[in-house]
Amino acid sequence: MKASTGLKQIGKGISNLWRHKGSTIAAFITVTIALIVLGFFALTWLNLLNLTSSLLNNLEIRAFLVKNEPVGKIETLSGVAKYTFITPEIAMKDMAESYPLYGDYFESVITDNPLQASYALKVEDTQLIPEIVKKLEAMPEIDEVVYGGQATDSLVNLQRVVGGFGFLLFFILVAAILLVVANTLRLSFAIRKPEILLEKLLGASPLYIVGPFLWEGTILGFFSSIVAILVILSSYNSFTSWAAQTMPYLPFRSLASIRFGLITIGIVLGILMGFIGSVWGVRRYWPKE
């Protein structure tokens, strides 16, 4: 295909969008709404993941030792990101600090420190908590392992479910939206069936016939994604400002952290959806024998 032919096809695609304003606007609104829905779903999913991760990241495993001596194999345990060895003295100091009113009492009355040495462990991946706890419990040097227990397990499971199902749901949503986009474009192309049939009859090449339609879908997808991104970004900006005032304890993703990803993925998805939707939409008109 000549470059001039490609340019002509883009021109024809744009002029078709303009010429069939009614169906263009209908398709534009449908694709934009679909992308906004997808964007909000993705943001909700990301924030839910962020919330569970942030809760889990604040969790630590406490492993109480039989003897008050450091255990090397705990420090080198795989999956452990950070460890702190807490001697009975430090534990007592921490306890005294936690109860300032009774600090003197602890120091004067309790002469024989009953507290055990322990390790405070932070893990690399919160999903590993149950596995690491199991390993620690199997060590003879360890007396007791304390962690969030069932709450942590539930949180880990929730993160797994949100992560896995969210991903799956995202793709199902993409497929469903693609179907809507394809059908919308197919309907807007259907009114031009006489033109397609005439072009076929006059000996037009397949690319000549479908080229402008593919450009139309792609251009439509691009502009829809721009509008959808603007709507999502401005709404999210308002939401995070409001949430910072009313729910400061909940760790929402900042606008800055999602802006680049949202714009890039949004535009790519918009263009891809428009393109794939238009391929789907014109496939029945693809010249056969």
């Binding site: 010429r19 009859l201 006059l202 000996g203």
Partner: protein, 227 residues
Amino acid sequence: MVNAPFIYLNEVCKVYDNNMVIKQADLMIPRSGFAFLLGSTGAGKSTILKMISGEIKPTKGRVYIKGQDTSRWSKSQKAAWRRKIGYVFQEDRLLSYQTVFENVALPLEIQEMPRKKIKEKVRSILKVIGLGNRINAFPDQLSGGERQRVSLARALVSNPELIIADEPTAQLDPQTAAEIFNLLVSLNRTGRITILMATHEWDLVERTNLPAYFIKDGSLLYWEGTS
């Protein structure tokens, strides 16, 4: 094959869903020839025209164009052949959302002709056809006769080797029908364009004395005419 007929249908048969529309058809049109294809509605005129243009394949038999067996043609060869055909239909098949200029320019756009040349050719053919002043009009702003003339201009603009006219005068008043028909005949005589015109009007065939093929019970009968 210099001496081969321009169009040659050899023992062609066409069956649609167990319905044999054409039992046996033999047809031969020389280059620059004119022939009618006569038959009642549903007799199979359009089927024969579609087999000649390569839109459909015969169930049996062969279609030869300039001595070449079309069953051996690739898709692109068929498309190239269709680009050499000018079509005039009973209903004008103009695109309602395109201007007269854009409608007539379509075959040249398909041939990827440069824009400047397209403008020249379209303006020139519209002038010849008497529609030079309606270049920016839309089809719904034209009369039935004007629309059919635009359709004829679209068929002629690419200098076709063959014009397939499928009942082009059926929906026109007698005067406009005569104008369009005379235009086709003069194109054949002066422009040396091969013309195959489907019609159901026996009067027209008798009056002009041009060769005709009659479709009767799925078979083609030849009438030589007297011209």
